[in-house]
């Protein structure tokens, strides 16, 4: 059993997929790459996949953490080759990701939201700005590590 968090992007035009469809594509892609998911118990077993927060329709993300529980060790070598257009694979870390702050950009202003307490949807509604002009640029975990493109910076 291994718990992993993988990092992907969600770029235009895939930014116009609902978050549910986005996760569905990630499940399929991971299966294509040979990942063996753990499944939930019960009547309708589903692959174990979690995401701390979802993006509103239209919002792009340069880094989207997706946590999964797998039955066997996973080699991510082929994963970049089996992703749909608009989703890129950035890398993985062991274990689940803790709750985090997300850094968003709208025009040239940046703002931080903590997930999941301050929802992005609520923010968009209050400020009345078009979601497709917002980009999730980075995330900062509670322990203070900045994960920009996973170590590129």
């Amino acid at each position: 059993m291994s718990k992993l968090t993988l990092f992907f992007t969600k770029e235009y035009p895939q930014s116009f997929l609902s978050y549910r469809d986005y996760l569905r594509h990630i499940i399929y892609a991971l299966r294509r790459a040979g990942a063996e998911f753990s499944f939930s118990e019960g009547f309708h077993p589903r692959p174990q996949i979690y995401s701390v927060a979802s993006l509103s329709l239209g919002v792009e993300s340069r880094i989207e953490p997706v946590s999964v529980e797998l039955r066997a060790p996973f080699d991510d070598e082929v994963l970049p080759l089996v992703l749909p257009v608009g989703i890129h694979y950035l890398g993985k870390i062991d274990g689940y990701i803790e709750s985090y702050l997300a850094l968003y950009r709208y025009n040239n202003t940046y703002f931080l939201l903590s997930h999941p307490k301050e929802g992005l949807g609520k923010f968009i509604k209050e400020k009345n700005i078009p979601p497709y002009e917002i980009i999730k640029e980075d995330i900062i975990t509670a322990s203070g590590s900045m994960l920009y493109y996973l170590g590129v910076k």
Binding site: Y12, P13, Q14, S15, F16, L17, S18, D21, R24, H25, I27, Y28, A29, L30, R31, R32, E36, F37, F39, F43, P45, P47, L57, G58, V82, L83, P84, V85, G86, P130, P131, Y132, E133
Partner: protein, 611 residues
């Protein structure tokens, strides 16, 4: 190449994932001689789930000089956007405008998509009528599929209609286009060559038709016989496209066999796809594995008209069960034939994995069941429910039809009685959570079936019989009947057995705003009522004379007309026509060289209830 839709544009429509394109698994080519755009004339979720589209995409793209792309029709909000901002329909993989393709081919699975075909052509800027496309370099507009096996209502709009299996029809057609393009021959040359060389191509403009009321008094032009692929010619894709947004069906699919020879008299598919051609079960398993590793799908299923008739079903299911490759894959079960529920199979199907079980007794009385050529009885149905109930099944979906020939109000009451008895059986077994739901459809006579001469029930009669049933089951909380009369069935009835005089009617309905007619929420009843004011609807829904020439008589789909007529007379007498796997009656479909009932285990015959 057209520009991708901008963020503002995508954000302004519902479910923008429908229009993104570039589905994972699809093919883009740079160089080719002939391009073919398949259009499933309905919304994305429906069209992308149609398996024939996947067959076409991978089959045509295997030809080095041909390119295949696909498209769908937009929802009303996207249609408005496309008109406002001059966005043409485009191939989802190549982003090429529809009008730049050599061929636009429509997959027609229901008559309720006719207006969507006009919508697509209109948005693409292509003249709707064949005669207006004669000059100019317009794409060839072709169509195929069961619901256009009577192409006459669409005669004004479609250049060529292919009858039968695409595997046989399409490759020679593409070769003709390739030759024409090389020599820069005009469109008309292609159409003439297709008319001459492809025996399964129906070209409406080549036929001269005249009417006296509903009777056809003149019908000139050559006979067209539906093309059939032999088992070895059937294209079994080992890849599938992954829909961007979830389709109504999204699973690894293998077509274990094509065709059904049970001979149910109301069934159009039974005529259109006969005879039975089964593929090997080892091949079927390996195909599923390939598709799952190509797509990552979590669900798998088989495609056929009556899965339990597959002669290798036990071997196939055993192989699937014992293969660890499928441990994470959920199999979905198609509807089961009551007479096929014999013990061995019951053990293989786990009630917890197929929560809903669909049973289709079709009618409530044994007499009427003989009329439609189903040879099981009410006792068989109830016995099956008892056995399934004993094994833990508690939820049952029933499917019935009203309006079949010779039906009376008493036959309708029999439907209610069956539901009550099923409820009793499950109650005695102690299933408190039982759930019996019945869908009661309205029978629509289809061309090329033995019932093509009969009349369609009126909405008043249908409502009355429905209310008889609803009244009888009213006090049972576990029994629900979901059905409502709708003008949609009148439209479908008229179009199914229509003739080319309906071209103006369809055009008018489209202009008045009819589109997406298969969707309750989009169906525009006023537009159709207005368009129908020009024709005698009753006559189109009524009886046809046995001696008449019918508008679709130049097309031979399944049984020959002689055999259809004989079978219609058998129906009236309540006589059963046996499955032709038990003995050939020479209906004319098979040539016994390439095309015949091809089973995995030749000796294994279908389970027949009355034995």
């Amino acid at each position: 190449m057209i520009d991708r839709l901008t963020r503002e544009q995508l954000y302004s429509v519902k479910k923008p994932g429908r229009y993104i394109g570039k589905e994972y698994g699809g093919i883009v080519k740079e160089h080719y001689d002939v391009s073919y755009l398949s259009v499933y004339p309905d919304l994305y979720e429906v069209g992308i789930s149609y398996f024939g589209l996947h067959i076409f995409h991978f089959m045509i793209n295997e030809i080095s000089w041909a390119y295949h792309d696909y498209a769908f029709v937009p929802a009303p909000d996207m249609e408005r956007l496309m008109r406002r901002e001059n966005i043409p329909p485009y191939g989802m993989q190549s982003y090429k405008s529809a009008v730049t393709f050599d061929v636009i081919g429509f997959h027609v699975l229901t008559e309720m998509n006719f207006t969507n075909i006009l919508l697509f052509l209109d948005l693409a800027g292509i003249p709707l009528k064949t005669e207006d496309r004669k000059t100019g370099d317009w794409p060839l507009i072709v169509a195929g599929g069961p619901a256009i096996s009577n192409p006459e209502p669409m005669a004004d709009f479609i250049d060529i209609v292919f009858i039968g299996d695409g595997e046989v029809n399409i490759p020679p057609f593409l070769k003709i286009i390739k030759e024409a393009k090389k020599k820069t021959f005009p469109r008309e040359w292609i159409i003439d060559r297709v008319y001459r060389d492809i025996p399964s191509a129906y070209i409406p403009s080549k036929y001269d038709v005249d009417f006296r009321s509903m009777e056809v008094i003149k019908l000139d032009g050559k006979f067209v016989k539906g093309a059939r692929a032999s088992r070895d010619e059937m294209y079994i894709p080992r890849k599938m496209l992954v829909p961007n947004i979830e389709g109504i069906q999204e699973k690894a699919t293998v077509e274990i066999f094509r065709g059904c020879t049970r001979g149910c008299r109301y069934c159009h598919a039974g005529q259109y796809y006969r005879p039975v051609r089964e593929i090997d079960y080892n091949q079927a398993v390996s195909v599923l594995k390939d598709i799952i590793s190509y797509t990552g799908f979590l669900d798998a299923g088989v495609l056929s008209l009556s899965t339990m008739d597959y002669s290798a079903i036990e071997e196939f299911v055993t192989l699937l069960k014992n293969d660890s490759y499928f441990r994470d894959v959920r199999f979905t079960l198609p509807s089961l034939r009551v007479e096929s529920l014999y013990e061995n199979l019951l053990e293989m199907v786990d009630p917890h994995h197929s929560i809903n079980l669909t049973i289709a007794p079709e009618v409530g009385s044994d007499r009427l069941r003989r009329v439609i050529n189903k040879d099981f009885t009410n006792e068989h149905v109830l016995e099956a429910i008892k056995r399934l109930g004993e094994r833990g099944w508690t939820k049952f979906k029933f499917y019935f039809m009203l309006g079949l020939p010779t039906e009376t109000d008493d036959d309708a009451a029999e439907i209610a009685k069956m539901l009550l008895r099923a409820d009793n059986i499950l109650a005695i077994l102690g299933h408190r959570k039982r759930n019996i739901s019945a869908t009661i459809g309205l029978f629509i006579p289809k061309p090329h079936t033995p019932f093509q001469w009969t009349a369609q029930i009126s909405l008043d009669d249908y409502s009355r019989r429905l209310s008889i049933i609803k009244r009888m089951v009213r006090k049972r909380r576990k029994v629900t009947v979901r059905s409502h009369p709708s003008f949609i069935s009148i439209v479908e009835g008229v179009l199914s057995r229509g003739d080319r005089r309906l071209g103006d009617v369809i055009y008018k309905a489209y202009k008045l705003g009819a589109r997406l007619d298969a969707w309750d929420e989009h169906f525009n009843e006023d537009a159709w009522r207005e368009a129908f004011s020009d024709i005698d609807v009753e006559a189109y829904l009524g009886y046809r004379g046995l001696g008449w020439t019918l508008p679709w008589d130049r097309i031979w789909v399944g049984m020959s007309k002689y055999h259809l007529k004989k079978d219609w007379q058998r129906a009236i007498r309540g006589e059963i026509l046996q499955d032709c796997r038990l003995g050939c009656y020479g209906c004319g479909v098979c040539d016994f060289k390439k095309i015949y009932n091809t089973l995995v285990f030749e000796g294994r015959l279908p389970v027949i209830a009355h034995e």
